[in-house]
Symmetry: C2
């Protein structure tokens, strides 16, 4: 339960690296697009700008999703789970592509007969996206 | 990309605690129910039993979801992301309740005017669920 008057960012349980997992879901179709991570600063920037700003663990810096590809995510709604350690963003995905492989969703492989099988098509060649 | 013939479990990138985040999504409605964690053993058990078996970080043991509440999750489909470090389960949620608070989804709070507001009703009193 929320303590009355507590600042919303102070209720967020970041892990021991200062991060929280964030699920991005297409606000219209309900399709799950990706999971990435935010720190306190990127979470604050996300609400301030209205666009998803993650923390890139591989690059060790703020990552305004779409800064290179143009595939930004407009935040429609932000949800919080019972344990206060996961965020759900309902977004409008610009370009209809969330994945760096040029697919709509990062979850394009499905387990079939003990194999991961690609079940979703590439919409746009990454070479065209990233130049 | 999958290396041909590589065992599916060997492609999974567990974190330094041996865990991977798993999103559970209602297979029919597309609603996101919860996010929990699995280790290699629980992931193998999930595919073997056809029901979600997580790793409880708080209790430090395998957690067959619904073992106390009866609210098991039948796995309809399993997806894998591009970085091979997140799993998506599409499930049939028994009882229509995934959250220990008695709600359908754990993501029952929404950010409004810088406050987390409860926007989803309790379906069943947790006292009745857990006895």
């Amino acid at each position: 339960m929320s303590a009355a008057g507590k600042f919303w960012l102070d209720e967020v349980n970041f892990n021991n690296e200062g991060l929280i997992p964030v699920i991005a879901q297409d606000a219209d179709s309900g399709k799950i697009l990706m999971l990435a991570w935010m720190n306190r600063e990127s979470l604050a920037l996300t609400t301030k700008t209205g666009e998803a700003v993650y923390w890139s663990r591989s690059r060790g810096k703020l990552w305004h999703k779409g800064e290179d590809s143009g595939h930004t995510q407009q935040v429609i709604e932000m949800r919080f789970d019972c344990d206060e350690d996961v965020i759900l963003l309902k977004v409008k995905q610009k370009g209809g592509i969330a994945c760096h492989t040029g697919r709509e969703s990062c979850f394009y492989r499905q387990l079939k007969d003990e194999r991961w099988i690609e079940v979703e098509a590439v919409i746009k060649d990454p070479k065209q996206i990233y130049g």
